[in-house]
């Protein structure tokens, strides 16, 4: 999965493929990872942060625009906050350098400065205050994990495979294991549990599946941190796929243009 997809691909799912009788866990996971995705996308998302403070529920809403494209030079993504006003215009640009580290810039209009280059090394840090980490959004190469088919069970009436994945090199992995439910009719993971050394940490659920331009899309994605009792919900407001972005769209200049 391309890095430029990141958050975008967390909410954009894939083309259905015909089910195969008796696939192994490795087969299933490779099918999921190999699904064709849009070459480019523009998505407007409502981001809802749910938490608890003093026994009361808190709710923060943000509107975010996310743009992503694959180019011959590597993947590109631009994320920009639209609302609320105090974060409007804050932008993150990620430029993938094949064979090298990504370039990342953060633009904060209130500073009246040019975009600032930021390091991309904090993979386990929260992504802009959400329950997603940078590592969550990068996806995982199936070959770096070992997979085991645990069982088959239904999710919301749809048959699904339940697959446990453990990293081959735990020192480089953000989790000690994940367990995912992959729907058998369309190879879409609709639930993923993330475990660290202390047990279950987070649960990702993909809801309201629909096909947009032939691609499966989860219109509502929820990442819940069960330990912090905090959750992030992403609801797609608008999505356009396979757009022809202008050559200078994924640029530091574009970050400033609002």
């Amino acid at each position: 999965m391309r890095r430029a997809g990141k958050l975008l691909l967390a909410v954009t799912l894939f083309l259905p493929l015909p089910a195969i009788a008796g696939p192994t866990a490795q087969d299933i996971v490779e099918r999921v990872a190999a699904q064709p995705a849009p070459e480019s996308s523009a998505i407007r998302v409502k981001m809802v942060l749910l938490g608890q403070r003093g026994g009361r529920e808190t709710r923060q809403e943000r509107t975010v625009e996310m743009f992503a494209a694959r180019t011959p030079e590597g993947a590109r993504s631009l994320l920009r906050f639209v609302e609320p006003r105090d974060v409007a215009g804050v932008s993150l640009l990620v430029v993938e350098n094949p064979g090298g580290a990504n370039d990342q810039w953060l633009y904060m209009p209130a500073l009246k400065q040019e975009p600032r280059r930021i390091s991309g090394g904090q993979k386990n840090a929260s992504f802009l205050g959400t329950d997603f980490t940078f590592a969550d959004l990068e996806g995982r190469a199936p070959g770096q994990w070992t997979h085991q088919l645990l069982r088959e069970e239904a999710v919301d009436g749809h048959p699904a495979w339940v697959i446990e994945s453990k990293p081959k090199n735990p020192a480089d992995a953000p989790y000690v294991k994940t367990v995912q439910w992959v729907r058998q009719d369309n190879y879409v993971p609709v639930r993923i549990e993330f475990y660290d050394g202390r047990g279950l940490l987070k649960i990702l659920t993909a809801e309201d599946l629909a096909q947009v331009d032939g691609y499966w899309v989860a219109r509502r994605t929820k990442m819940e941190n069960v330990r912090k009792k905090h959750a992030t919900i992403l609801e797609i407001i608008e999505q356009k796929n396979n757009l022809q972005f202008p050559p200078d769209f994924f640029s530091t200049r574009r970050m400033k243009q609002g």
């Binding site: 403070r53 350098n97 390091s119 840090a125 972005f245 640029s251």
Partner: protein
């Protein structure tokens, strides 16, 4: 010399600019346009923020000082944008402050046009014209941040949004591949905003007078007797126009900025009159240092020397460069700047203008939402053999900010600080931030502690250390 130009002129300029931009705009690409990738129409947004802060001095040791302050500020802005074509931005700032003193008090209110600019965008360039704030450099502090004058009304403790004063400016930026070339023209000189004569942050000799005399009398008399020569906040004299150039290259893993700036010093440096300089020398011959003489001046003596000093914009040229490089977990910044002539004072309080050089190494860790920090180390040198007043020829300064989230309850611990390694003076400002459940409303409580020997900038102001409570509401 006159004060700032009429605001009406700026408004008329912006209006004309908008008319020009609207007529000449090119079509642009908007992925969320009403018809696929077609451009959408103009969008208007507005917002603002309000600060309300209460300060209380930790030490009541100076007659007439402000033991308590209540400072309120607001900023309201409107922006109309047609994506990729043009924007117009207007904002206004208001300030209402209650500054009670032991004897008498002071309440002041003022409102001003803050930023008023228009921007047009083309395929390869953009032009921004009007009253604006523009900060070169990619960190705070940055040696390249030389365009707008600062606001030192409360020394170094002005809120982030108000640390720079907007000024009339035109900027033309050309974009080509991974390069940017920006040309800046600043037609009218504007000085940094300094504390008034009634302020606790005023120069030390004036603060001594505040303690010895009736405050309203000192304020009025100082303004009348020495201010005509002292205050050169603004002039429309085009001889003091400023110009700058920035070239930026975005590389793989690093960014480069190179600047040149031809302008005038933003911090006004007073040049004492011959009579007063002779008086200082005479007192020095009797064994009193200029600082001791200044601090012992009686009100009548100051009036007798009126005008005590004169002040005017003093030109200088600056050349600087900055490299930012992303590392594993931090971004490193290296900056250097050379200044053709920098005003400073000899120990005998004579104004001299000498070449100056500074380098900065900065490290920023900003991509975490739980623990952010930034540390800057600055080395500065003045090319002179003279012994200097209150500073050294060589200075080494460390500045830092750290912010850490405390649990999940909406609390943050923040600490800002600065330490001059040569002089042994500095300040530290720890505070606790609470993000309330009300969207945009933040409460913060902290203390600003200044320390150092009495003949250093922070040491001389150490009796102004204070605790503070603040509400910030952004909407």
């Amino acid at each position: 010399m006159t004060r700032s130009p009429g605001r009406l002129r700026i408004l008329l300029f912006v209006a004309g600019f908008v008319a020009f931009a609207a007529g000449a705009a090119r079509a642009d690409w908007d992925p969320f346009g009403s018809s696929g990738a077609a451009p959408s129409g103009p969008e208007a947004t507005w917002g603002g923020l309000v600060y309300s802060r209460w300060n209380a001095d930790l030490v009541n040791d100076l007659n007439g000082e402000q033991l308590h302050e209540w400072r309120n500020k607001g900023l309201l802005d409107v922006e109309i944008t047609e994506r990729g074509k043009w924007s117009v931005h207007m904002s206004g700032a208001a300030r209402w402050e209650l500054l009670p003193r032991r004897r008498g008090g002071d309440a002041r209110f003022d409102a001003e046009l803050w930023e008023a600019w228009g921007r047009i965008e083309r395929k390869d360039w953009e032009l921004v014209v009007g009253q604006q704030i523009r900060r070169w450099g990619r960190g705070v502090p940055s040696l390249l941040d030389v365009l707008n004058p600062g606001d030192f009304d409360e020394y170094l403790f002005v809120e982030d949004e108000f640390q720079k004063r907007p000024i009339p400016m035109a900027r033309w930026t050309v974009y080509r591949d991974q390069n940017e070339l920006e040309v800046v023209a600043i037609p009218f000189y504007r000085a940094a905003r300094l504390p008034g004569n009634q302020s606790d942050w005023a120069p030390i000799a004036i603060r001594d007078l505040q303690g010895a005399e009736d405050i309203p009398l000192v304020e009025s008399a100082l303004n009348q007797d020495i201010a005509p020569g002292l205050v050169t906040e603004a002039t429309d004299d085009l001889r003091y126009a400023e110009a700058g150039l920035r070239w930026t290259h975005y590389g793989e893993g690093w960014d480069l900025d190179v600047i040149g700036f031809f302008g005038a010093e933003d911090l006004p440096a007073p040049d004492f009159t011959k009579d007063f300089s002779a008086f200082l020398r005479a007192e020095q011959a009797r064994g009193r240092t200029p600082l001791q003489t200044l601090r012992s001046l009686a009100f009548q003596e100051i009036a007798a020397f009126s005008p005590m000093y004169v002040q005017k914009p003093r030109r200088q040229a600056l050349f600087g460069a900055s490299v930012a490089r992303a590392m594993e977990k931090v971004t490193a910044r290296f900056e250097a700047i050379a200044v053709s002539r920098q005003s400073t004072f000899t120990e005998a309080l004579e104004l001299i203008r000498v070449p100056a050089f500074a380098v900065l190494a900065g490290f920023d860790a900003l991509s975490s939402d739980r623990f952010l920090w930034s540390l800057s180390l600055i080395g500065a040198a003045l090319a002179t053999d003279e012994k200097l007043f209150m500073i050294d020829r060589f200075n080494a300064i460390a500045l830092g900010i750290m912010r850490a989230r405390l649990g999940q309850g909406g609390f943050w611990l923040e600490t800002r600080g600065m330490w001059d390694i040569n002089l042994g003076d500095g300040w530290v400002g720890p505070s606790l931030i609470y993000e309330t459940p009300v969207a945009g409303l933040q409460a913060q409580a902290g203390v600003n502690l200044l320390a150092g020997p009495e003949d250093t900038p922070n040491g001389a102001l150490s009796d102004n250390s204070y605790v503070w409570l603040r509400l910030r509401y952004a909407f």
